[in-house]
Symmetry: C3
Subunit: 139 residues, 3 copies
């Protein structure tokens, strides 16, 4: 039975949806020591988010971004506008996707489905580096 | 303190929202040995999802599906259309609900509220059997 | 290694989005004994939800509510209307945000980002007191 925790600073990315599976897994060498467990991946921000989705076609990630901008538009009855037109939509989008992923670990690896990859959703125009805190627990 | 993991293959269901609490709980006999813990239920797909909602009226599940189809329409500026008109909306809907549920265990049972049930959201027209990986941890 | 579980009854709040970080953390004295772990905060209802977002400006919480009411309107093709016009939208909004938060614990505290706070999203006009079940696990 063991617990460990890792800070990961993701490199800055432009507004949009980005596949970060390798960047995250590469920072978690203890994964291979866990026969069974859970990985909790947490983003310490309120204008970027994490989700799991299709890891192959870049079109899918582009289409996510297109949909986001229609579903949570910049041109809306926002009152919180001091930090820019992209700020309040970013907060709503961040909560729609959520600030964390909990993923199963089996046999020393994340037990993702064949097509599942970790997405960083960067909802700000210039969000900068995003900080993750990963908590591993297992045996 | 114990960990266990179960694969559950849900029977195929048509596009829509389905109550699967009994199918899931029935596959987890170890639940009754846990005084306190967490159940992590993970779907290994990117076009179906899990959520918790009202376990009584089938109208609620039908209304979810109606809302999904308006909020994430097939007729939209999608670029990823090779796999059919239902595919890209399914990816977005899947991330809106999310790929996992983490549920508290108390006294050998899932500690759900009176009205809470586990929904499988099948976002594809013909998604086939869906595979879950459940991780139990507790004492 | 330890597990603990707490029931918290949040005081009733009007429809809208409310910052409840202090009310939740204040009910979890064991947090300070955990060097590393996870806090799972679960709401036992299907018409209220939990999310993490900006803990400073009340405008952000008001804008969430405005957006919710446009994205999931009361005036829609709902069939489940027996419990009032606010009921079915509340179910959908609840699943959009989700029924739980899993938060990392580090050094005896929730390891939230500077701007992150816990939101109770009350989606009903008169939801009454909302019941949380918090599960702490760590070492």
């Amino acid at each position: 039975m063991s617990w460990s925790q890792h800070h990961i600073d993701l490199k800055p990315r432009p507004r949009g949806v980005h596949l970060v599976t390798h960047e995250v897994v590469g920072a978690l060498p203890e994964l291979r020591d866990l026969r069974i467990g859970l990985a909790h991946i947490f983003i310490r921000h309120t204008s970027a988010s994490l989700t799991l989705n299709e890891n192959a076609s870049p079109d899918v990630r582009r289409d996510f971004e297109t949909w986001f901008d229609v579903a949570v538009p910049e041109d809306f009855a926002w009152t919180h506008t001091l930090e820019g037109a992209d700020d309040m939509p970013a907060h709503v989008k961040a909560s729609l996707m959520g600030p964390s992923l909990t993923l199963p670990i089996a046999g020393g690896r994340l037990a993702l489905g064949t097509w599942q990859g970790i997405y960083l959703c960067e909802h700000r125009d210039r969000g900068g580096s995003r900080s993750l805190l990963v908590t591993l627990n297992g045996e």
